[in-house]
């Protein structure tokens, strides 16, 4: 299945996109999304492997299953306040 991870802030400019498309097995979970991001960006593997992800606007647990229709966002390097 194809999922998209939304990217915000300075990271968007750094990696050159506001959404990363990932091909994952149908039974993938959030941890698999982290692993896929790390594999896509090996130079920042440690960052992506531990990056917090939101699933449908809520912080996700690593074991949560992911569906193709889910909205996934990377919630790191935040800078509000």
């Amino acid at each position: 299945m194809l999922v998209r991870v939304l990217i915000f802030g300075p990271l968007r400019a750094e990696i050159g996109t506001d959404a990363i498309a990932l091909e994952l097995p149908p039974s993938a979970n959030i941890a698999a999304v982290n692993d896929a991001l790390a594999a896509r960006f090996p130079g920042r593997a440690a960052f992506f492997r531990s990056a917090r992800l939101a699933l449908n606007s809520t912080f996700a647990r690593p074991d949560q299953p992911v569906n193709e229709s889910d909205e996934i966002a990377l919630i790191e390097l935040v800078g509000g306040g």
Binding site: F8, A54, G80
Partner: protein, 134 residues
């Protein structure tokens, strides 16, 4: 999510402008400390001069996380009220992009609450800032 009468969360396009006049309810009688913190855009970011900061906000998650955080802080510190305002979009140097208002019975809990709110906000709320250079 039903509104809580002592929690206010506002996302505002652009600068927040001047703060509203103090609206303490004298009939309340319990208010002893009002803390207002304002985050102002500095002229320098990572050693470079900037013109502004551009704020991106991931909604509806940001408002919900702010609301949950505010509710937790109100409960933990026994506050009377908390108000949070944050800018979205471009905010120029010297302009206000964040305002936190805390009302409590006493100084100690008001200051502690404001400090904790900002610490936790900076870690958990999906708001990003990107410098705008001249």
């Amino acid at each position: 999510m039903s509104p809580n009468s002592n929690l206010t969360i506002r996302i505002v396009d652009g600068s927040l402008g001047r703060p509203p006049s103090h609206d303490a309810n004298p009939a309340h009688g319990l208010l002893g400390a009002a803390v207002v913190f304002e985050g102002i855009v500095r002229a320098e970011e990572a050693g470079r001069q900037i013109q502004a900061l551009n704020y991106e906000i991931y909604e509806p998650m940001a408002t919900r996380v702010l609301h949950d955080l505010a509710r937790d802080i109100v409960t933990k510190h026994g506050l009377l009220k908390i108000e949070v305002e944050h800018s979205r979009g471009k905010v120029a140097v010297n302009e206000c992009s964040f305002r936190l208002t805390v009302h409590a019975g006493h100084r100690k809990e008001a200051l502690a609450a404001a400090d904790e709110f900002i610490d936790r906000m900076k870690k958990d709320v999906p708001i990003w800032k990107t410098p705008v250079f001249g």
